[in-house]
Subunit: 475 residues, 2 copies
Amino acid sequence: MKNKNDAITSRDVDFAKWYTDVCKKAELMDYSSVKGFIIYRPYGYALWEMIQKELDKRFKETNHQNVYMPMLIPETLLKKEADHVKGFAPECAIVTKGGLDDLEENLIIRPTSETLFCEHYAKIVKSYRDLPKLYNQWCSVVRWEKTTRPFLRGSEFLWQEGHTVHATEEEAREETIKMLNIYKDTCKELMALPMVTGLKTDKEKFAGAEETYTIEALMHDGKVLQSGTSHYFGQGFAKAFDMKFLDKDNKEKYVYQTSWGASTRLIGAIIMVHGDDNGLVLPPRMAPIQVEIIPIKMENEEVMKKANEINELLKKNNVRSEIDFTDKTPGFKFNEAEVRGIPLRIEFGPKDLENNQIIIAKRNDYTKQIISLDSKIEEVVTNLLDQIQEEMYNKALEHLNQNIFETNNYSELKEILNTKGGFVKVPWCKELECEMKIKEDIGATSRCITNENTKDKCICCGKPSKVDVYFAKSY
Amino acid sequence: MKNKNDAITSRDVDFAKWYTDVCKKAELMDYSSVKGFIIYRPYGYALWEMIQKELDKRFKETNHQNVYMPMLIPETLLKKEADHVKGFAPECAIVTKGGLDDLEENLIIRPTSETLFCEHYAKIVKSYRDLPKLYNQWCSVVRWEKTTRPFLRGSEFLWQEGHTVHATEEEAREETIKMLNIYKDTCKELMALPMVTGLKTDKEKFAGAEETYTIEALMHDGKVLQSGTSHYFGQGFAKAFDMKFLDKDNKEKYVYQTSWGASTRLIGAIIMVHGDDNGLVLPPRMAPIQVEIIPIKMENEEVMKKANEINELLKKNNVRSEIDFTDKTPGFKFNEAEVRGIPLRIEFGPKDLENNQIIIAKRNDYTKQIISLDSKIEEVVTNLLDQIQEEMYNKALEHLNQNIFETNNYSELKEILNTKGGFVKVPWCKELECEMKIKEDIGATSRCITNENTKDKCICCGKPSKVDVYFAKSY
C-alpha cells in the first residue's frame, strides 16, 4: 500500500506528525486561540457521540443515573481530601473574578468532580435505604497542561465521570470491576480496541484512591495509552467529607465509594491503533458514516438513480450510508473517503451498470470486489461491515500479542523498550525507588500489575519480587 | 383538589415558594456551595435529556452538525464585536490563573460562544462551496447573576447554542425562522407548552444581533418566561471577525449569520405552566417515567406477579413504566408519584385481582378509572397518555388565550398587569423612552412585537404608533 495522500506524513517517517496530520486532514479537530484547548469539529465530535451513546446505554442498563454538577469548585472544598488536592492543585485553572468584582473565595474549574459529588452525597444520603447512589456525569474538565496533543492530552477535554457510594466494601469493589469491564467490552465491541487491564501501582494511581484499575491500549508505534480508569476509594473521601449513613443494624457507618472515567482520549486510541498512511481507519460500529457512495459521472441519470436507490436501501437496513454529491472528481472523493476512514466505498459508473454490477472497496485492507446488481446488496454490505469489524479487532489483537514481552533481565528490558516498545512484564519488589529508577533510566512507566505474589527477583534491585508489572513507554 | 402535601406551599399562598418547593421535593435539583450554581439531580437531568434528545433529533434532521468549542475565551476575542462585549462583560467569570501561574491574558468562561464560532468560521470558510455551515453545541455557560432561581436564572446553566453562516441574507433569515419554529413546535409537541412568538425590540434583543425572535410562555401566576431565542446577525460579526468567502461570481463577500439557543429554563416553564399544589405535572411525552405501578400488599405473590406482567407488557409497547418496589406505604408512594408528576399511576391489591380489575389514576385531573383485566391494558394506557398530552396542551392554551389582553389606554395597561398579569398588546411609537417608562412605572417589559405598521397612538406618549407590542411582567 503506498501513501496516496501527500498531505499526510508517513507513519514510519514521523509518527507524531502523522498523528496530527490525520487529526487535521480528517477534520476531526482544529486549534483554538487558547493553547491546549481544541475545537471538536463535526466529524471528531460525531466520533465522541458514538462513544457516548454506547457507554451511556451500558451505564443506564446497569442502573446508573446521569446528573450534572457545577463547573466551579470552591478552593476550600477541593482541599478537603489531602492526597486529592496534592494531585490536582498544580493543574488548576482558577477563577478570581466574577461579574466585575474580585471573588471572596477563588473558584476552581473542575479538574474532576469527586469533591462535588462527596459534598452532595453527604447531604442526601442518610440511611441504607438511600444506597447505593450510582451517578454519572458527561461534561468537560480543565487541567492546565504544559505539553498538549489533540485528544491525548489537553487543557480541556470531554469525558464522563461516574461517582458511586455503597453500603458495603464488597459492593463498591464489585462496582469498580464492573465499570472496568464495561470500558473494556465497549472498547472491544464498538471500537475494535483490545486492552491490557490491571491494577495501577501506588505511584500511578488516582489522587485519593485506594486502588486504580486501568485499561491500556498499544498504539501502532509501540507506545501505550491509558484509555480509562476505575477507582476504588474505600472510605477515604467518606471520612474527609463525613459521608455517613444509618445502616440496617442501626449503626452509623461511612459509605464505600468508587469513581471511573473515560474521555475523548479514546478517539486518540482509535486513530493510533487503526489508522494508516492514508488516514483514519474506522471500525464500522464506530463509524458515523459506514458507506460512502461515489457515483462516477453524476450527470448520468441512470447512475444517480441507482446511487439513490442503493443509499435508500442501505439506510432502510440501518446502514449509515451517504452519497458524495459534491462537484469534486471521483479520485478526489475516493481520497477523501479514505482520509476519513469510511469502512466501505461503493463506486460505479455507466459502464458498471451496463455490466449489471457495482464495486465495493474495503477501507481496512484496500481490497475491492465486484458485486452483481442481482445480489442482495444490503446483505453483502452488512456482512462486509461485520467482517471488517472482526478483522480490525483481530489485527489489533495480533499486534498487541506480538508486543507483550516478558523478562527478568534489566538490560533486556531496556533493549526491548528502546527498540520495539510494547508491554514488558517484569518482576518487581513494589518499592517506589525501583519504579522511579526505570522511569528515569528508560523513560518507561509501570502501566499495571498483572500478577500478584510472584517468586522471582526484582528486575531493578534484585531483592525478592512481590508482583509482576507491565512497563511501557506511554503517551 | 386539596393540597395533600404539606411540604409544598400552595401556589396561591406564595407562588415563588411553591416553585422552589416543587424543585426540591420532586428532587429535580439541589443547591451547591457556590451561589447560583445548582446540582441537576437525576430526575431533573432526565427532563433535560428528554428535551435534548428531541431537539437534537430535529437539529440533525435539518442538517445541523454538533461540535464542541473551548470553554474559555480570550478577553481580546470577546471584545472584537462592540455591542456583544458591552452586553456580556458585566456577567463574566474570569480565569486569571492557570497551573499555579498568573495568565498573560485573562480568559473568560464562555457566557455564549459567538466569538469562538466566528474565529473558527473565519478560518475554515473560504468559498461558497463551504457554505452553509450549520453547527450546534451542547454545553454549559456561565453568566454571573446577582439574583438566581433554579432553572430560571443561574450563574451556570445548560443549553444548546446553534451558530450558522450562510452565503445569502435570504438563507440566513430563513434559518432564523426555521429554528424559531423548531423551538415552538418542540415546546408544543413534547412539552405541551403553547408559545407567543415575535420579534424583540431593540432594547431587548441579543447583544450584537440585528434581530432577535423569541418564544414566550405564560406561567400560572401570570408572569411570562422567555423560553428560547433565534437571532439574525446580518453581517455585523462577519465584518468584526473578517468572515469572508469567494462567491460563485468570483467576488469576496461577508457571510450572513444566525445563532439560536434554548436552555434548562424550559424545565422551569414546564414546572410553572403545568404544576399544581401537589407538585410537578409532566406531559406524557416529556415524562422520564410515564406509568408508576404501585402494588398494594407487595407480600402477595399474585399481586407481584401481575405487577411484573403489566410492567413488562407496557415496556414492550414502548411505555416508560416502572414498579415502586420500595418498602414505603402505598399512600406514601401515591404521594411521591404525584410530587414527581408521573402521568399515570396503576394501583391494585388482592381484592382488585379477585374482581379481575386494576385502577388507573390520571395525574393531570386526578380522575381514576377501573379497568378490567380482560381489556388490552397497553392500549388503554397509550390512549390515556395521548389524551393527557392533549388535555395538558389545551389547558395551557386556554390559560394563555384567556390572558392575552389588548388596550390603548395606559391606566388599563397598568391595571391589567398589576392584577391579572398576562400579555397585554399595546400600540407603541418604538421609542426607547416609552419602553423604559413602562418598565420603571409598571415593572413590565416588552416581550415581542406582534404587529408591524399599526395606525394608532403610542400608549405611552400619544404620538403615532408604529407597531403593536406585547408587554408583560416576566421572570
